[in-house]
Symmetry: C2
Subunit: 238 residues, 2 copies
DNA sequence: TCGGCCTCGTGATGTAAATCACACGACGGA
DNA sequence: TCCGTCGTGTGATTTACATCACGAGGCCGA
């Protein structure tokens, strides 16, 4: 099998390493096989658009490898990033189920692989497999819950520094060292961070300076070290 | 039957005037009857809380009469209203399906009646009636869609006047006169409007003055007349 | 009938953050 | 190798709102 963009290809959902943890997991043998039949897989380069906000839903994408940026924009060009999706996530599910347009744009942030399941096939699959439909409903309501967290940060969090601290905290939960500090690779640009917390690039730059000065974080190349969660939590305070 | 708060009581979902249009509608005879069995009904005074943000979900409420304010607050007391629900709406569905806490607080804005369906009964009902489960999934994804509209207005709309114009427009869609203008009763206080568009009471007052001066709207007592949608759309522009 | 509470209007003031502007280093392709 | 682009830091300026402050009218209950 070819490996474009230097990636290994995963060609079978039944043996995929991420299958255990997510939506279409632990299906009955039969359902799993059926799912494997109706999906197709593809590899995408950095910058590829899986789907674009406003398009009629064609189907869902199950992300196998790579990261995807979900964003929504106004006509004047202002953009907010609502989520960075990782492997295992199912993208476009809401649009497919409701048959309303995709509510976000999904763009590959790095080369990666995704499985595609056409809308019709998926809906038929759900009708044939009632227990999966209920799982889908659960997933949809969880999506709704996280959407409300977004609404809360956008509507209630007041200052950029508050939102910035909140974002840093959300990052630390993923990988914390034994001594309480956290270390991670910073893959986002200031511009992208600005689009997440709803401010400008310059303000993000200044926030980094400010937080460095306050000993809240440290930068070694592209490695971000977060010194103390408690101090950040005090800034978030809410 | 008693009629507290001066309301007529609707005691049977099968004959309820709003049943045709909404989620639990056009069910099979059997399913409809079953639903009627597991629901209980109650009348609530103005200000009553059906549920509060953060509580574990007890069940869903189907609003029969009255209006309900859905809101979320920060610890510091800042509040945003995310939706005004009307009769026929199902409240708390996401929380019940996902078993995550209620993501909003639901407060009666006027006396009204609501049916309550306990979580366990509803989930069992959904398991027994697969076709309704799919309808629920559709409803959940529509909810998600509207949540994203909220995210867009909060995150992308820049100025209060833009959001205010947007709100006025959303009102006009409900009842437009033949000459293009719209007339309606204004039941919300400036404070509440401020909580919808995410600004302060004072700013809303000033917006009303400003829009009056610009001939965009007119107030006769509590009757709001919106002069021309096109002018408002130009302000929204996005 | 009166007094208190809620809603509303509007002025004065302060300030945080957007905007504009420019410079510098890193990187990658021609 | 050089040049263009992209990401970044940081100063100066401006401005739209929040905030504070106060007064006026309306409504309701005592």
């Amino acid at each position: 099998m070819r490996a474009p963009y230097g990636l290994n290809i995963l060609d079978n959902c039944l043996t995929c390493p991420v299958r255990e943890e997510h939506l279409f997991c632990n299906l009955s043998i039969h359902a799993g096989q059926r799912l494997n039949e109706i999906k197709s897989t593809a590899v995408y380069p950095k910058g590829a658009m899986l789907f674009i906000e406003g398009q009629q839903p064609r189907g869902v994408f199950v992300l196998c490898t790579g990261k995807v940026k979900l964003s929504t924009s106004s006509r004047e060009g202002k953009t907010i990033i609502t989520k960075i999706s990782e492997s295992g996530d199912v993208l476009g599910l809401n649009a497919v189920v409701s048959n309303l347009p995709y509510e976000v744009t999904a763009e590959m942030m790095e080369p990666g692989q995704a499985n595609f399941i056409p809308r019709d096939s998926l809906l038929q699959f759900l009708k044939d497999n009632g227990e999966v439909a209920l799982r889908v409903a659960e997933q949809l309501s969880r999506n709704y819950y996280t959407a409300y967290e977004e609404i809360r940060t956008l509507g209630l969090a007041t200052s950029p520094s508050e939102k910035f601290a909140k974002l840093l905290l959300s990052w630390t939960t993923k990988s914390t060292q034994t001594d309480g500090s956290t270390q991670m690779k910073l893959t986002l640009t200031h511009e992208e961070i600005a689009e997440i917390i709803g401010t400008t690039r310059e303000t993000v730059s200044r926030l980094f300076s400010e937080f460095k000065k306050k000993q809240l974080l440290q930068l070694k190349g592209s490695t971000l070290i977060i010194r103390s969660r408690p101090a950040l939590e005090k800034i978030v305070q809410s």
